[in-house]
Symmetry: C2
Subunit: 231 residues, 2 copies
Amino acid sequence: MRLVIARCSVDYAGRLQAHLPLATRLLIHKNDGSLLVHSDGGSYKPLNWMSPPCTLTVHEPDDDQRDAGVTELWRVTHAKTADMLVVSIYETLHDTAHELGVDPGLQKDGVEAHLQKLLAEQIELAGDGYTLVRREYMTAIGPVDILARDAVGASVAIEIKRRGGIDGVEQLTRYLELMNRDPLLAPVAGIFAAQEITPQARTLAEDRGIRCLLLDYDAMRGIDDGVPRLF
Amino acid sequence: MRLVIARCSVDYAGRLQAHLPLATRLLIHKNDGSLLVHSDGGSYKPLNWMSPPCTLTVHEPDDDQRDAGVTELWRVTHAKTADMLVVSIYETLHDTAHELGVDPGLQKDGVEAHLQKLLAEQIELAGDGYTLVRREYMTAIGPVDILARDAVGASVAIEIKRRGGIDGVEQLTRYLELMNRDPLLAPVAGIFAAQEITPQARTLAEDRGIRCLLLDYDAMRGIDDGVPRLF
DNA sequence: AGTTAGATTTCGTCA
DNA sequence: TGACGAAGTCTAACT
């Protein structure tokens, strides 16, 4: 990994065209050839970048560029697409290289998969007398998060989201349309379960006879596991 | 901006919990307090990070941690949520600070907005005798990309995507349902226009009587502007 | 390899 | 300020 702090301007041409005016920025040239251009603020997204696989070549500026103050040109071209990134360097303030090695990678835990697991274990949260049929119940157009039965044995399809938006309701609607054509399952009721549900999604769901269920992740987790929070 | 190369492990607790085993990584501490943890590969997304507003505090390791080889603890806490990131530093290989100043920001050009502008200008691509009513035609559930009239004056709603997927068809369907309830507009036909359309989206659209239109961005741009590509 | 759905998404825009 | 759609999205899972 090579780290360069430089006064530079950047031009990108590919799926769109973009330009960064002259300013001091951090350039990260990774071992896989990729290049990130970061400013001293904003989120984790670089101002501009080139994803691997790509290659960086350094060029001499032409006369016009040299007159304008450019000392070096970095050209990063993508290996497959025609995307190109050109960094015009006016002044290099810092330049170091470092050997990092391969990273073992991130270990994740939690989120929607966890919510699904928790609700499957605590299916009575969906309604008194509810029983679990199975998680990831497969249909022709994809898996329904949870298939359950209510107190009198009628089928209930449950769609789980962290944040419930209109698209989630649409998704559940498609599942319900399909499943209600299956005489072995029909009639199938729907429950839209999420930590948060947008007002639009709630309106749409209720308009279609789908019940909304707000999930309290912390409470569900607190019941489920005795593992204390790390911090 | 402070750049540190260090052997470290990282723990994150917030909307999920995650852990990074001991390895050599780049730590970027930006001026707004945010911290990025990058490896020497992958895309522009860091292995882990904390978004602003947040603050970093440095702590001494406790006895157990010191015995394990930890020399320093970085604790980054988010100002509003309870999110926390803890970096356990075992060895610092590089540590520099740099003054970058405020970045003037990215100037973009192109993409879906451009496609919409081009199709509005070349509305005859949608069909012979078509005329533009207006772009971003407002409805109660959001703006339709383009409202046009066909050769005999009937309304046509056009949804434009760069990549046409099922969600785009759903979106257009919602608009059409709504607009067809308006006696001043009805009947409203639909056109789903995109550079690429997935087979699933095409099938769904045609099943609902929505016509699909493939857009050739380069050809449309070639007709529109005489500006040559920069590279 | 292609497709789909989720993301600690981030980023813009508009009501 | 909140909500919604787009992104040069990225990423993982599944076909």
